[in-house]
């Protein structure tokens, strides 16, 4: 039955759908969903109660936060996307998937990548680029599996038995094409070891490419595929026609064209050139209506089915999901206004915003789809309607607690950071004071997350019992279509015609996402040519580079920014605004996106080495109320000096001006630098012998270099 086609009396072809792969992706969604939520809950707990990392490096916030985001987006989100796409595409195109073999490779390949992430991220192998943390071997694997998926999907389109592509399929095409583009461009990196590489972009270039990727990962992994799913499962579950075909055309094209430009809104008020910031802001604002087009079409499709809200939990999940989509896509443009961003950026407001989208839109849409699909695939009814209702209400309460606590936390802390008194001084100059104020809200958020997880456990139980009690007899789902024949009837005109021409449709789509990408990214690639010539930036010394990689490995960027924005309260608190030149050798950039702790762009030279040493081993010895985890293991692990030659040679290849001697003797130079720091420490405290040559020494060297590498020619500063 591998072709999936049986000839029925010579009149009709019977096409049997491949639902096995759908079931596999569905199981994977549920399994990884539980994992993603549990890791998220652990991370949330650590912010309220730092010892929840059990003092294990593998469970520390900087390492598991990326694990949580990757698991939630690519494991939970990814698997439901694939389940939904394989399930709906076959039915919308009246054909079996192109290749069962490719489907299987896609499934197992994707699960292996997830396992790879599950192992490497806690071990500290990371690119430190958000939602693109995985190191180069996994990046290659993702690209390969994505191509497998694309071949399978476009193959299915090629063998379709209906002429026109439905709007859900347009969204799937947009997803597959754009995610490939984003992933490949953002992941161009040069390996230095099996699980270590440096990106080809540096500083502001890396920041712009990363947030072009990061923003559009939200757009083309958490928005377009889910809109496609919405366009299939909402009308199916409600048994209602789509509200407006015209609206779907307009909002689809405006959405994919405008979305790709909006990335720089993650970099407002930073050192990114003004023109690029303004592009990011205005395109984000123009994105409001196209996003709401999707919400309108989703909600108004439910028109006439509103009475089902009382009786059918699936409709409840779907309606709330679409409503959250509307809320998040209103909040997004709002947060992209420069002045609003100056308040909200780096605070928990952003975390709240993201979770409104992921828990509310992606999560609830996924739950609705699972409850719709399971009875269909296993030819039965859901075991318990009551449990579905409980899941809905508990989950909904969880999202509200999460969202509201993070709003309160973000706005409170943002206002405290901004407050300047009449004397021209910060009202809350002590960073930890602003942390203490919001710490109770971290408990509220934890409770919210816990409720969301408990609701999901109801789903797991409900689905498990449903499948267990399902009829054991194998049933297959099929459709009967007329045999293939050369069909010369009209395919329509205008957009209708385009819907029948899948190749041209895909090419136009590709061009629409390419326009914004090229216009935004290309000018930045030559940006360092235009740096002021009276400013000079020294590359990191070998030991500083080693320390920088420790900083990246521990995920310090998860909680600390290195970007003093062009805002008075940032300048008062942290010093002169950061410049483009200062991060020109930063591969990857470390501008950060969240300040759970203070900015570190100018921390170099601010405190003695001994301060840093004691602070890293136990932050509370220095700052009694600190919520930062302790890093005792750094004082035990030896720095790998030998790899530094390779690291410097790769850096030099990428254009960092190291000379032959530095590259050839990188290990020796680093060891000497470390000895200087160590001698000074040991002279102050004889009991510190064991820290010799440890990663902690390298990290201190790096921290002390921050903000110290750039000097203007006139006022030449000495660099330590």
């Amino acid at each position: 039955m591998s072709s999936g086609i049986q000839v029925n009396k010579g009149i009709m072809d019977r096409i049997i759908y491949d639902d096995d792969v759908v079931k596999m992706f569905l199981y994977a969604t549920i399994f990884w969903g539980a994992a993603a939520f549990i890791v998220g809950l652990l991370a949330a707990l650590q912010l309220a109660f730092w010892p929840a990392n059990l003092e294990l490096e593998w469970l520390t916030f900087g390492r598991i936060r990326p694990l949580h985001t990757n698991a939630a987006i690519f494991a939970f989100g990814g698997n439901i996307i694939f389940a939904g796409i394989y399930h709906s595409t076959q039915r919308l195109l009246k054909t079996r998937n192109f290749s069962d073999m490719l489907s299987k490779i896609h499934f197992w390949g994707w699960q292996l990548i997830i396992v790879g992430a599950l192992i490497t991220l806690p071990l500290g192998y990371t690119m430190s680029k958000e939602y693109a943390e995985l190191e180069w071997p996994l990046d290659i694997a993702i690209a390969v599996i994505w191509v497998v998926f694309a071949v399978n999907f476009f193959g299915t389109i090629a063998i379709r038995r209906v002429k026109h592509l439905y709007v859900a399929i347009w969204f799937y095409i947009a997803t597959i094409i754009t995610v490939a583009l984003l992933h490949i461009v953002n992941s161009i990196e040069i390996p230095v070891a099996l699980f270590k590489s440096y990106p080809v972009y540096s500083g502001v270039q890396d920041a712009l490419v990363q947030w072009w990727y990061g923003h559009n990962a939200v757009a083309f992994f958490l928005t377009t595929p889910f809109l496609g799913l919405m366009y299939y499962y909402v009308p199916k579950a409600a048994n209602r026609p789509i509200y407006s075909y015209k609206l779907s055309i307009i909002h689809f094209w405006s959405l994919v064209f405008i979305y790709i430009w909006a990335g720089p809104h993650h970099l407002l008020n930073t050192a990114l050139p003004d023109w690029a910031q303004n592009v990011g802001m205005v395109f984000s604002i123009m994105l409001w209506a196209p996003s709401w087009g999707g919400m309108i079409n989703g909600l108004l499709t439910l028109r006439g089915a509103w009475h089902k809200l009382r009786t059918d939990p699936i409709i409840k999940f779907l309606a709330v999901a679409v409503t959250f989509y509307g809320m998040s896509t209103f909040e997004g443009p709002l947060l992209s206004i420069k002045s609003v961003s100056s308040l909200a950026h780096y605070t928990d407001w952003i975390i709240g915003h993201v979770h409104g989208g992921t828990l509310g839109w992606n999560g609830f849409l996924t739950f609705g789809i699972i409850y719709y699909m399971v009875p269909k695939l296993w030819n039965t009814k859901m075991y318990s309607l009551r449990l579905m209702n409980w899941h809905f209400w508990i989950g909904f309460m969880g999202i509200l607690l999460y969202y509201i606590s993070m709003w309160a936390s973000g706005i409170t802390q943002g206002l405290m950071w901004q407050a300047i008194g009449e004397n021209g001084q910060l009202v809350y100059p002590d960073f930890v004071e602003t942390v203490m104020r919001i710490a109770p809200l971290y408990w509220v958020r934890f409770v919210g997350g816990a409720l969301f997880l408990i609701g999901f456990l109801f789903l797991i139980y409900n689905v498990w019992v449903t499948i267990k009690h399902a009829p054991k007899k194998e049933t297959v789902s099929y459709v009967e279509v007329p045999p293939l024949k050369s069909d010369v009837t009209a395919i329509g005109t205008g957009h209708r015609k385009l819907e029948a021409l899948s190749l041209i449709f895909t090419v136009i789509l590709f061009i629409s996402v390419l326009v914004g990408s090229v216009i935004e990214i290309l000018p930045t690639l030559s940006i360092y040519k235009y740096l002021p010539t009276d400013e000079k930036t020294e590359p990191y010394t070998p030991l500083e580079l080693a320390g920088r990689d420790v900083y990246i490995k521990e995920g310090c960027y998860v909680c600390h920014s290195q970007m003093i924005r062009k805002l008075p309260f940032d300048v008062l608190r942290y010093g002169e605004a950061s410049t483009i030149g200062e991060s020109m050798y930063d591969r990857p950039f470390q501008w950060g996106s969240k300040r759970t702790g203070p900015d570190l762009a100018r921390v170099g030279g601010k405190y003695p080495d001994m301060w840093h040493l004691r602070h890293m081993i136990n932050p509370r010895e220095i700052t009694p109320n600190s919520i930062m985890p302790s890093y005792p293991w750094l004082a035990a692990k030896k720095t790998d000096y030998n790899i530094l030659r390779k690291k410097l040679s790769v850096m030099r290849m990428l254009g960092v001006p190291y000379d032959d001697n530095e590259v050839a003797n990188a290990d020796i130079i680093a060891e000497k630098e470390a000895a200087v720091i160590y001698e000074e420490l040991i002279s102050q405290d004889k009991s510190l012998e064991s820290v010799k040559d440890t990663e902690l020494i390298a990290l201190i060297a790096y921290l002390q270099s921050l903000g110290q590498k750039t000097s203007s020619e006139e006022v030449s500063q000495s660099n330590n």
Binding site: S244, Y245, N269, V282, A289, Q425, P429, P568, P608
Partner: protein, 192 residues
């Protein structure tokens, strides 16, 4: 809307796995929102990029100059305290309490919980490295820091009045002879 009307709006030939499509017009308010955001985008972008709107550097410089003049005014109008004024504070238990509380949060890490000195120097003896050990000298070091030695400037981080209380508290530590005190450094200064 009656069933009949709905049927009229369904687009013929649009049937995907049973999903049909209506062809309702674009909602007017939605279209208007879209147009307004586009007009806003064009106007905003043109103003800041092509027609001389202030750059972010200019905006920052302007705001910082206002803040700096505020700082200057505040500094000039602050009452100048004499050595006697500070010494008088020593008798005020509230000031000492406040100074001690802040000391425990910010200074203890380097100077020890009893002022015995750890990374930083000992406050409990009669020897001073920077200045003459008077409250105003201590305050000066606390305000401006000693960057080469790793003492951070606390001006702007600890509010002025609190910092004064800290300096008074430190001044009060002399002669307490705490355990494990660091050996004397600097010059001996006799208090009169």
């Amino acid at each position: 809307m009656s069933e009949k009307e709905k049927d009229e709006l369904l687009i013929k030939g649009h049937d995907y796995d049973g999903i049909q499509e209506l062809n309702n017009p674009l909602p007017g308010w939605w279209l208007m929102t879209f147009y307004i955001t586009i007009v806003f985008a064009v106007v905003y972008y043109s103003y800041y990029t092509f027609f001389g709107g202030p750059t972010s550097d200019e905006e920052l410089a302007q705001k910082m100059s206002v803040i700096q003049s505020e700082q200057q005014i505040a500094e000039e109008s602050a009452p100048v305290k004499s050595a006697d004024d500070y010494v008088a504070l020593l008798d005020n238990p509230e000031v000492l309490e406040k100074g001690k509380a802040e000391y425990m949060l910010k200074c203890m890490a380097c100077h020890g919980d009893k002022g015995q000195g750890l990374i930083g120097p000992n406050f409990a003896d009669e020897y001073w490295i920077h200045g003459d050990g008077s409250v105003s000298a201590i305050l000066e070091v606390a305000n401006d820091g000693v960057l080469d030695k790793g003492m951070p400037p606390w001006k702007g981080v600890i509010p002025e009045e609190t910092l004064e209380a800290v300096a008074v508290y430190i001044y009060s530590l002399q002669g307490t002879n705490p355990e494990g005190a660091r050996p004397p450094q600097g010059e001996k200064v006799e208090r009169n």
